[in-house]
């Protein structure tokens, strides 16, 4: 292989491919990037077997060919290059990379050792505005489960229906749901690994993202980059059935930023469950938290409707993650009682978070 590419193209392609690479993998080939020079394109590919990221860049190709290079090394090199053009030559294992007056001779691995990529056929395609998709996945990405014993909950549920995409995630303690408009008419649902979607989120660029769903995989196509991930098999939770009836509820409307800053202060003592007790009366919200080293009390003005008193304990980090994901300046909390979920709802978003059961002594001490 003998190719010439632009430094900027190579550098950003390597950066994208690196996002699929697990530096702690015990298989050296999985720490490598596959470079494949064919026709007028250099394919830059990384994979961790679940997630594969491929970027195609324009190249002047003297000789076609493939080789694998350690991803970290290639990333360090391209970041520190100073000239515009990068020349890569390889006989399949040894590689020479030149840039301006720098020359690097390194040992690579044979392209044959790189995992074979699945051949995907018969995909269902739809597309969505990239900015909108980005905001939508941020609204659900913090609450998928990290517990591999319940695999479906380690994914984000995608449900397409009537030109709308609904995204749902839950870890058993909380559930988030959001809906966005898409271009595409299929009715289809599937579960995307949360970890893969985190990487998609980092690579998002351009105006539009194309999503193609196959039997066991999904592709996210963004400009010249394709991110492919396996789907999670299994039946997702019927989320509509778990949402409580909130017709008879208590509503508290409060300035989001003030509430977030107060919550952050309650976390300073770092108590074990991050639990905070919220009391609401006289159009004021009182937050309290304590640990062995002290107590914190916070007071905030709010507008309350419904039955006006509630005392409920919750994980402050969970609520902070929800508030971080939404744009509204004022937020409405809905409560039923101190045993039912706390609900935060906006036009296109719904979250419910289970409270922490307050023991009598905790409640009195706070």
């Amino acid at each position: 292989m003998n190719v010439k590419v632009k430094k900027g193209d190579l550098s950003s392609a390597v950066e994208s491919a690196s996002k699929s690479i697990n530096a702690r993998s015990t298989m050296p080939i999985l720490q490598s990037i596959l470079l494949k020079a064919k026709e007028s394109t250099l394919h830059v590919i990384g994979t961790n077997l679940e997630l594969t990221i491929e970027t195609k860049i324009d190249a002047e190709i003297e000789e076609e060919g493939c080789v694998c290079i350690d991803a970290k090394l290639l990333s360090d090199l391209t970041k520190k290059f100073s000239g515009d053009d990068v020349f890569i030559e390889s006989d399949g294992t040894s590689i020479t990379i030149r840039n301006l007056l720098s020359e690097f001779k390194i040992v690579g691995q044979l392209a044959e050792e790189f995992p074979e990529l699945p051949r995907l056929t018969n995909g269902n395609k739809f597309s969505v505005n990239q900015g909108i998709f980005n905001k939508a996945i941020q609204k659900v990405l913090y609450c998928f489960s990290k517990d591999e014993f319940r695999p479906v909950f380690t994914g984000i549920y995608f449900e397409i229906n009537n030109g709308k995409l609904t995204l749902v995630s839950t870890d058993g303690y909380r559930l988030s749901r959001t809906t966005v408009d898409i271009d595409g008419e299929n009715e289809i649902s599937f579960i995307v690994p949360g970890k893969s979607l985190l990487e998609v989120n980092k690579i998002l660029k351009g105006d539009k993202i194309e999503i193609v769903v196959y039997a066991n995989h999904v592709e996210f196509r963004i400009l010249n980059t394709t991110i492919m991930t396996r789907l999670i098999e299994g039946q997702y939770l019927n989320y509509k059935n778990v949402i409580p009836n909130i017709s008879q509820n208590i509503q508290v409307k409060i300035k989001k930023n003030d509430f977030m800053r107060a919550l952050e202060r309650t976390l300073i003592f770092n108590n074990k469950n991050n639990y905070v007790i919220l009391k609401n009366y006289n159009n004021k919200v009182h937050l309290s938290s304590q640990s062995a080293i002290g107590k914190i009390n916070e007071e905030l003005l709010c507008e309350s409707t419904g039955e006006i008193e509630i005392e409920i304990a919750f994980n402050a980090k969970y609520i902070l993650e929800v508030l971080n994901a939404i744009d509204e300046e004022e937020v409405i909390f809905k409560f039923i009682d101190n045993k039912n979920p706390i609900i935060i709802e906006t036009d296109d978003f719904f979250n419910m978070t289970l409270p922490i059961v307050i023991k009598e002594n905790i409640s009195n001490a706070a």
Copy 2:
């Protein structure tokens, strides 16, 4: 104690005091900050026994008194406060801190448990422009020894003479020296722990720094903050005697930034000693480095004078640290041969760095 202070004053005083605190200390009192309210001043003091940092801030004092508070907790609190005024009340152990609608009740420690600060008398005072002092200590701070078996080299040598302050540091492999003008006429020399000076460097602010030298301590006074550190006892190296005769030398003048970028690239392979071989001929500098995974060659234009060929190996990180500390766009390297130190010299600065002995096989392979 019952005081009212401005949040910004308290926050920056706590930040300064925290720089003297070793979070891994096994004595809880050394992880605390002493607050001392007296007359119209709140003294905010941290210490690790070697280094003590005290800031005096204006306070409205209802009741004088002292208390110790965990430094990390107080720092987290003051950073996250939202109102301007902070009220601190304490009976000596339990503490209430109020700010706007937030109230914190925390457990403190008795001020009596805080280490007693030395009483310093008969100091020699001189002063120096803060910006100049800052630049000067950056020119020597990277090369004091971390090896506690040679205590004097873990410090920076201060030598005052004829209205000038000379700073010297060495770790046995390299030596840096710089000189600045000061206000003050004393002739005195002393050794300041490098670690303490690193903290002084972080706190530097204002126009002027006053330095007061006592028998066993030195104070750096910056606006309302006083940084006090023990001096290191012992005789420093007679640095003038170790500087080689460089009348018969090879000089290489080169663009500093290009050279630094090239050196950084040679470090990508992360070979054990960071060693790089420099060859100089035909007004070109060639840098090379290698490890088990590959080789790097770099070529740069330069202006050479003297005997024009040299081949010398050195620790690239050492030379990068020197180049990082100086402002010049072009830098002149002086070489005698491949066994004598590499010398980098500017108007007010001198550095010499020992080369690495090149084994025959290393030299041939590169």
